[in-house]
């Protein structure tokens, strides 16, 4: 088998000694795990069921075979470890230039173990890896780190939130991008790593350049035909915030800590309003033609949809400038905006006191600095609600705060939230695609019928996307059919959409195995009780009732059967053997 697409080199770094060993996996092994999420999962699974702060549990940065080629939207990378926030699998697909620069520097993955004796940076350049002293950056905001390291091709770093022990700590990448969810920033900080700085000039060999060009044209044609991506009101023009109006009209906008599903002031807080006010420029991940990221004229990152929604409807705010400022603060401090917004909403409901704009910013600053009340809030909604004796008010699954799609308005999303391996995550199965955006075809969002298998197949597909490592947004338009052609052309590995789905099934099942070893079962595959007892806001056209508990449990049981799990949601030996995981 050829070694196109991959560099064929994985750097294992002992952060304690600075020693670096290069693993050269066989092309067959690389093709089995693909890269990104698959490759990272292999290393974490192999290390056994360790605590997230066990130095022998690796923290992995990995990219896929498409990265660094002309395949559309290949500018992603995966960060993975066990989540400090949830205790489950913690991974994030992140954009910017991180993935392509790692590849150009000569590596498919960095596997970090041990703990640096002092605050350090990891410098990866031109095929070599070394530790650098980062003590002068202790406590620095991510903006300072990016300024200090601007000569590098790409930089990932943590902010003061991670250094002060926040479970909501993100890893910020190239100023405008974030591996936000699950507290991965805290893992890096505990390993003594402030930043990873990379540069390189290597090329990625492609087996069939003409075939890749043909696949690229097919994918571009499909994305240009996608209203959600390239339409005049789509992500390319307005960013992910363009979905804000739909969430309002579908009565799916989480409001007042998910106690309601419509925010009466939403109309003036949509993507158009932000565009008019901030005149943002388009910005994108390396090699992306969609360029959904937006940067305001003053240089601040424009908030993504979830941040727009959670820092308005969820916490009762109507000031867009507060949203932009909160987003900037989270980026600087290294906090996940979704979890931070949701935790503030939980705090607001528990105390029964509204949050003034300056209070929001002050609490975020305290969360990022580990001071005052912020220290408690930085542990996330689940711990906050538990410690205040109101555990039912944490709008989280497996401890991960829910994003801005109310599950009472999309039953596939409800099931997907519950069974996701990383907790309250919309991206594992991404039912928004068919339940809201009508792609590849529309499904009835108010039924569980058929959703168990749809969720399972979509999880498999997205495991492939995160392993290749491409952008999930592209799959509002293209499919694995076109990406299989691109993968075949890049790697020289004959493959089809169904071949890739089988690899995705294996990658995803391994995550269920890791979670089971960490103690997760059906008890954790559940939603907050509010969704089964309280209705959403009716529109007059359609009611938004509470989820039917019996139907939900029936759908979850169907999912377990389809996924090859036992009745408690645990992996079985038979399925593990079938997938080559036992």
């Amino acid at each position: 088998m050829s070694r196109h697409g991959w560099t064929g080199r994985i750097a294992h770094v002992d952060l304690g000694s600075g020693r670096v060993e290069i693993e050269e996996p066989s092309p067959e092994d690389l093709a089995l795990d693909l890269g990104g999420k698959g490759l990272a999962g292999r290393h974490i699974h192999a290390s056994g069921p360790r605590d997230w702060d066990d130095p022998d549990l690796p923290f992995v940065l990995a990219v896929g075979p498409l990265v660094g080629t002309i395949a559309p939207t290949p500018g992603r990378a995966t960060l993975m470890c066990r989540s400090p926030l949830t205790g489950a699998v913690g991974d994030s697909s992140v954009g910017g230039r991180l993935g392509v620069t790692l590849k150009r520097a000569g590596f498919d993955a960095l596997v970090l173990a041990g703990r640096a004796p002092r605050l350090s940076g990891l410098v990866v350049e031109h095929g070599a890896v070394r530790l650098a002293d980062a003590r002068e950056l202790a406590g620095a905001g991510t903006d300072t780190v990016f300024e200090r390291l601007e000569d590098f091709g790409s930089v990932a770093c943590v902010g003061p939130a991670a250094e002060s022990g926040a479970l909501l700590a993100s890893v910020q990448v190239d100023r405008h991008h974030a591996a936000g969810r699950g507290g991965l920033g805290l893992v890096l900080a505990r390993r003594g790593i402030k930043f990873i700085a990379l540069r390189g000039a290597g090329k990625v060999p492609v087996a069939d350049p003409a075939g890749l060009k043909a696949a690229r044209e097919e994918i571009l044609r499909l994305t240009h035909a996608s209203p959600a991506l390239m339409g005049s009101q789509g992500f390319s023009c307005f960013g992910t915030g363009s979905i804000f109006d739909l969430m309002d009209s579908r009565r799916m906008m989480p409001t007042d800590n998910f106690s309601r599903t419509r925010f009466p002031r939403a109309a003036g807080l949509n993507a158009y309003a932000y565009k008019e006010r901030y005149r943002p420029e388009k910005h994108g991940c390396h090699g992306c033609h969609i360029r959904c990221k937006k940067v305001a004229a003053d240089g601040r990152s424009m908030p993504e949809f979830e941040t727009m929604s959670h820092f308005t409807a969820l916490i009762g705010n109507t000031d867009p400038e507060l949203v932009v400022a909160a987003n900037a603060a989270c980026n600087r401090l290294g906090l996940d905006t979704i979890s931070a917004g949701s935790t503030l909403a939980c705090h607001r409901e528990i105390t029964g006191r509204d949050l003034a704009p300056d209070q929001v910013l002050s609490l975020l600053e305290d969360m990022g600095r580990g001071q005052g009340q912020g220290r408690e809030l930085a542990q996330g909604a689940a711990r906050l609600a538990r410690d205040r004796g109101r555990p039912e008010l944490a709008m989280a699954v497996k401890g991960l705060e829910l994003p801005a799609y109310d599950p009472r308005g999309a039953y596939g999303m409800a099931l997907a939230y519950a069974v996701s391996t990383r907790g309250g995550c919309h991206l594992r199965a991404y039912p928004v695609s068919h339940e809201i955006l009508r792609k590849p075809v529309a499904t009835d969002r108010f039924t569980f019928s058929g959703k168990a298998r749809i969720v399972k197949i979509a999880e498999d597909a997205n495991a492939v996307v995160d392993s290749l490592t491409a952008c999930k947004f592209t799959f509002f338009a293209a499919s694995l059919e076109e990406y299989a052609k691109a993968y075949t052309a890049v790697a020289g590995v004959e493959s089809s959409a169904q071949d890739l789905l089988r690899l995705g099934e294996r990658i995803y099942y391994r995550e269920r195995m890791m979670n089971a070893a960490w103690g997760f079962n059906a008890e954790h595959d559940d939603l907050p009780p509010r969704f089964f007892t309280e209705p959403g806001d009716n529109t007059g056209e359609f009611p938004v009732p509470p989820l039917d508990r019996a139907e939900f449990l029936q759908a979850r049981a169907a999912y377990y059967a389809i996924r090859g799990l036992d009745e408690e949601g645990r992996p079985t030996d038979a399925t593990a053997r079938r997938l080559g995981l036992a």
Partner: protein, 388 residues
């Protein structure tokens, strides 16, 4: 699930693509369900264990689709590659599988959305809904129809049609349904209220499907009320538009158009340039066929006609323009709206036909039907002239 299976089986019959009782649709969640009992389920059921899918649509074809697909498959080497927009954008090619057995069928469906099974019909799968298989089967039938008649005209231009081919063509042409000329009684405009406009759109959309001027979920329709463009949603079937029309302010001040048709920009431009209120877009088969008929044998842009044809051709008074779906640099939003000024309709190469109405869809629908009838007559005129 069963009602969904029956729905798409019924739609294939209603569209004239399949014989009554022919389609077989399956859906799998926890359990596998079929739209009806059939001997083919033994083979097709195996596909669910070979593929990570949740639905299948298998359909024998009604005439003339059956005969023309058989004719194309007879000469195919592995796959058929039509050059219409639906194939180019969504299907890529149509594999031909001669052995009705699980493994060869699975091998084809591993890499494509559907396949042709000579002597039996068309087969397609889905990972979300049986609607995917329905759309694929419908698109494959459309693509084969366009390819068969396009290939014959092109072969006549090359002088490469033998007696057997002429005889086969004549037989298949004789199976075409008769021309329809009587117009439906659509609501009269102009419509000042959004509700009236939406009702007229639902009505006109259904008529467009009933007259066979568009298949599956292709085509789109819009109407301008004040400063808001009401347009069908992406992936909506024109015969089921109720509740699936998005209001899109012309100033872009909301993003409800995120689920609007991929041709929102093109519709908007047409309305701004022509002062019309109604836009209707279908994929009438002979309109698409004639849009692809070209006499430039040695054109250096051959293969890129759909995106870059510079010839400025017309069919009678109807301009033919290049343009791909959506808003890309070669998107039809850059070509079609300008060509619509002063015209009743515009043909987009290999794709379909756009028409307009000043006040309502009576004019737009009339144009759609009459241009399709014109194209069908003109097609057979060209065939006759080249055959003489």
């Amino acid at each position: 699930m069963k009602s969904l299976l029956d729905k798409y089986a019924g739609k294939l019959v209603a569209a004239g693509l399949a014989p009554e009782g022919g389609p077989l649709v399956a859906g799998l969640d926890a359990e596998l369900e079929w739209s009806r009992e059939a001997k083919e389920t033994a083979v097709l059921g195996e596909l669910f264990s070979l593929l990570n899918i949740n639905s299948l649509v298998f359909s024998p074809l009604a005439e003339p689709h059956r005969s023309l697909v058989e004719a194309l498959a007879q000469e195919a080497q592995g796959a058929i590659t039509p050059e219409d927009c639906e194939t180019r954008t969504f299907l890529h090619d149509l594999p031909v599988v001669r052995d009705f057995a699980p493994e060869p069928l699975a091998a084809a469906l591993k890499r494509r959305k559907g396949c042709i099974i000579p002597g039996r019909g068309l087969l397609a799968h889905g990972t979300v809904s049986p609607e995917q298989g329905f759309v694929t089967v419908s698109s494959m039938a459309f693509a084969c129809f366009v390819k068969f008649f396009s290939d014959h005209l092109a072969a006549l231009r090359r002088g490469a049609v033998d007696a057997a081919a002429r005889e086969r063509f004549a037989r298949i042409a004789s199976l075409l349904p008769p021309l329809r000329t009587a117009l439906p009684d659509l609501d009269r405009g102009p419509f000042a209220a959004a509700g009236d406009a939406v009702r007229a759109m639902v009505q006109a959309g259904k008529a467009t499907v009933d007259f066979g001027l568009v298949d599956s979920y292709f085509g789109n329709i819009s109407y301008l009320v004040d400063d808001t463009l009401h347009i069908s949603q992406t992936g909506s079937s024109l015969d089921e538009l109720a509740g699936l029309i998005d209001p899109c302010p012309l100033d872009g001040s909301t993003s409800h158009g995120l689920t609007a048709s991929s041709e929102l920009t093109a519709h908007r431009e047409v309305l701004l340039r022509t002062r019309a209120r109604a836009v209707l877009h279908g994929h009438p088969r002979f309109s698409v066929i004639l849009s692809m008929d070209c006499t430039e044998a040695d054109c250096p842009l051959r293969g890129a006609c759909h995106a870059r044809c510079p010839m400025g051709r017309c069919v009678a008074d109807v301009p033919v323009v290049p343009g791909e779906v959506g808003t890309g640099p070669t998107g039809l939003c850059n070509t079609m709206p300008a060509a619509m000024v002063g015209k009743r309709g515009v043909l987009v190469h290999g794709h379909g036909l756009f028409t307009v109405g000043q006040d309502d869809f009576r004019e737009a629908f009339s144009a759609l039907l009459s241009i399709e009838n014109l194209c069908r007559s003109e097609y057979f005129n060209r065939v006759a002239a080249l055959s003489a």
